[in-house]
Symmetry: C2
């Protein structure tokens, strides 16, 4: 049901029909293709953001949006370059440039920012796949590709050059040599919001929440109809350049006093963050995931970065020696960080970190309650492996020499605590874990990695051959694997054996996939949590699935 209308036009048309009583709301919700939402939600080029960049205009819109990235002329070259960039902590945005794409190129499209091809049109493989994966696609029949160089009129670019693709939903597309400034879509006055509200009315006993922590993302999630925050990642607040050094102080301090001082500084920052988050989300659930990232993620990665950092800290007094810092950083490195000391394992080794975070949460809660603001925090413990861990983190433990201070020893108010279920062991032990958890949140990214024994960051090495021989139902990081689904169902059922009113949610990349939402509804899962821009799609999918079942 494209009919040559833009997505905005079609949504407006459907809403008008409902308003005029020509169709009912359910019909309108069922009639809209989910992919049309994506067309409205794509990013655009800033006004003035391409000033001075060499430009070519024309081509056929394959998938709308704006994308900036380095150019590669084969999927292999792109995947290789991206892997190196990942390893070096460099920018990973790439543009795939090819005469046309084949099934084998999907793995590159999936990780690229955009695709520029010479053959085909809106229905070409590249365009269809780009729309499916939410990527930008432009077909430019005028493009000449020779080896690792391409020309588009006067525009000439080679491998590794940065280009910008600008493919508006309607109007003329453009390619720029260089990086344009990109901004989120301007949705002011869009009928999207009314349509979301219409669709939400058909969702019963199921919620769409969002993964967000910055004020901009929280506001966006709310405007898109999110019922709460299902995943607020507390480490994201510390990866900001002006804050990361405070976190490093915590790890590299040479005395308990210095460590306590660093903890106190971090607590104040976190408390202020939580205050803002809870205020924006007043009246709605906010699930705070305590620190999950391994500590080495906070350390300088490259030698250059390390030298810069050592140079910076030579002016401070509280840290251990330069050699000791280098040794500590080396010690934090792991062979398999995915399976290393992260998630609540950090809390078991360094109980003071979670204690600080819980204090920050409840100090913010107290301030807001004093202001008569309705705050609904939930504390979520990541990477739980067994019930003994969770019990200790929640209720503490008396041990000769050093007690463990639990959340219950700190939180002054009734509070909700839940477990992320993202390891097969946690699924199998779910009945015991549910004794100490009021909710489960299934982390599908990590559960997929452990169930399949497949690292998300390294999968690109194997994927081409698996695609070639058709050995996977789909990319398991986009579409939930059957084994992962079985484990999630088992976890829900075992958890509810112990706690019949256990709330269960799903947060992970796959959360906005309509098939995953169907699985969640069928399995008695209470909510999914996805990125803010995916919330409208998830709402529409959930509404359509529930309408279909009526």
């Amino acid at each position: 049901m494209n009919n040559g209308k833009s997505a905005e036009e079609e949504i407006r048309f459907l809403l008008d029909q409902v308003k005029q009583g020509l169709i009912d709301g359910a019909h309108a919700v069922k009639a809209l293709e989910i992919s049309r939402f994506n067309e409205i939600l794509h990013p655009v080029i800033n006004a003035g953001g391409v000033e001075g960049l060499p430009k070519w205009t024309g081509g056929i819109s394959g998938a709308p949006g704006a994308a900036v990235g380095r150019v590669y002329f084969s999927s292999g070259a792109l995947l290789k370059a991206r892997k190196l960039a990942l390893r070096r902590g460099e920018d990973t945005h790439c543009i795939l440039v090819l005469p046309f794409t084949l099934a084998d190129d999907v793995k590159a499209i999936e990780v690229a920012a955009g695709v520029l091809t010479a053959q085909g049109g809106f229905s070409a493989h590249a365009s269809v796949m780009a729309r499916q994966y939410g990527k930008v696609s432009l077909v430019a029949p005028e493009m000449n590709i020779t080896g690792k160089r391409a020309s588009l009129g006067a525009l000439v670019f080679g491998e590794g050059d940065t280009v910008t693709l600008d493919v508006p939903g309607s109007g003329i597309s453009a390619v720029y040599l260089g990086a344009a400034e990109i901004t989120e879509p301007n949705l002011a006055g869009s009928a999207l919001f009314d349509f979301i509200a219409l669709a939400k009315g058909f969702i019963k006993n199921f919620q769409i929440r969002s993964n967000a922590e910055t004020p901009a993302d929280l506001e966006r999630a709310l405007s898109f109809g999110a019922e709460g925050i299902g995943l607020c990642r507390t480490e994201h607040m510390f990866f900001k350049p002006h804050r990361i050094n405070t976190f490093r102080e915590l790890i590299l301090s040479d005395s308990d006093a210095a460590r306590k001082n660093a903890l106190e500084k971090i607590k104040v920052m976190q408390r202020d963050d939580f205050y803002r988050i809870f205020k924006i989300m007043a009246g709605k659930d906010v699930t705070i995931r305590l620190l999950d990232a391994p500590l080495h993620e906070f350390m300088p990665r490259s030698d250059t970065e390390l030298m810069g950092y050592l140079d910076h800290i030579s002016r401070t007094e509280t840290l251990c020696t330069r050699d000791e810092i280098i040794a500590r950083i080396e010690m934090l490195n792991e062979f398999n960080p995915m399976l290393g000391r992260r998630g609540c394992r950090i809390a078991i080794s360094y109980p003071e970190i979670y204690a600080m975070q819980v204090r920050a949460v409840f100090e913010a809660v107290q301030t807001l309650r004093d202001e008569n603001i309705d705050v609904r925090p939930e504390i979520m413990i990541p990477l739980v492996m067994n019930a003994a861990e969770l019990k200790t983190i929640v209720f503490g433990k008396r041990v000769t020499g050093a007690d463990y201070t639990g959340i219950a020893d700190i939180a002054p108010l009734p509070f909700k605590v839940g477990a992320m279920i993202e390891l097969p062991a946690a699924v199998l032990g779910a009945a015991s874990i549910a004794r100490y958890a009021q909710f489960f949140s299934f982390g599908t990214n990590d559960l997929t990695q452990t169930t399949l024994g497949l690292s998300r960051d390294d999968a690109a090495g194997s994927m081409p051959a698996y695609t070639h021989y058709d050995l996977l139902e789909g990319n398991p990081f986009m579409v939930l694997d059957e084994g992962v689904k079985e484990l999630i169902s088992l976890g829900v059922n075992r958890g509810r054996l112990t706690r019949p009113d256990l709330v269960c949610g799903l947060c992970g990349e796959q959360g906005a996939d309509p098939a995953a939402i169907r699985f969640c509804i069928d399995s008695g899962i209470d909510y999914v949590s996805c990125s803010p821009y995916a919330v409208p799609v998830a709402i529409l999918a959930a509404a359509q699935i529930q309408l279909e079942k009526q």
Copy 2:
């Protein structure tokens, strides 16, 4: 039942009693403590292997054997040093030196070669734990420890110094400054073999196999009563210095012709290895695990090693350029190698490697059959994730452009193929996987890593805190985790839904643990496979468990 007798004396006594008809065989087998076998099976110092090393004699034997390693004066320092050594590919043998040990030191004892303490005796914590983990322990009350230095009479050593502990089963113990040459125990004339034969007679419908590939280990496994080889690791044959460069040629060749040439050279080596293995194991099952290790394990690890290698190959002609070699090696590195391209994923990317290995196996089989030798090979595919993978590897696949050559396209004779079940996804998909597998081998090391989301190589970072707060039933890499056991049972049951006569085995570090053997017998598993020196212990444990059930 120690009675001051050495283990050898006790075994001889029990056998005599049986011979004289005073007790029956079952009684003798039940009467012997399993740990007594370990006492006989410990390594000893070579004759003349300590020539010229400064020596101290005396002390109380805590756990017999001989151990060489670098000295550390705290569990933390030892674990740290070992982790660095692991990362750098250096020797990881360490000796823990302390006044006495506490529960928290177990994690260090577990990975140390030996323990030297000043307080206590045979029943001290250090001695008990060392015996439990098969480590050497000596108690030297004369030892003075001051900071990171210790003195034993005239012998003085500091952190990082190499010492040798020599603790014979009977006789005077010694400590040497420096590394002695160590050799396997001399079992000529030991009553152990008769006792193993006696115990084996009580094992019904259950086998003890061994993990082995070198002639010495195969002979040893046979002499210790192994019924077959449950795990013959084909990559171990390539880590030898004089062979690894041939394998590198395969990965770094610049042309198909050069790659084919390298493959052919490797095939000849493997064929000759398999010939020797099958000949030694005539009449017994030999399970050949095809390549499992990720390709980067064959590459130079340190910069020094890389420079040495580049220097070496500059004299050959068939490889790609120096820069391309460095780039290829960098590309092979993975963020999480445990979850990367290894196991049968290598075969899906590079089908020619398994094809070469299968050719090598069956050429060796053919030669031996021509010599009228009874050969019983089984081909085992590691890290199977789903049935589609295994089906392709076994039966091949016709794909436009490039067919996949399966084992069935190569093997000229009826052959047995099985799957290693070491990922939760494989357990969940076991019913489908069993369509293409005549046997399952549960790899408990990897299944533990994926189920718990815990890397074996990195676990030392978390373990101290987990031990301190008592959050694990035991070290999951020594004692099977409950979740892992549930998955194994599920895999056995699902596999036998499809194939009622599916043979199931267990290979992994935990295989020789009596509790694991009990679990295997209770779960209908047909065999365990463990290291040659663990075979006698496993046989005695299996016999005792089955006698107990009668």
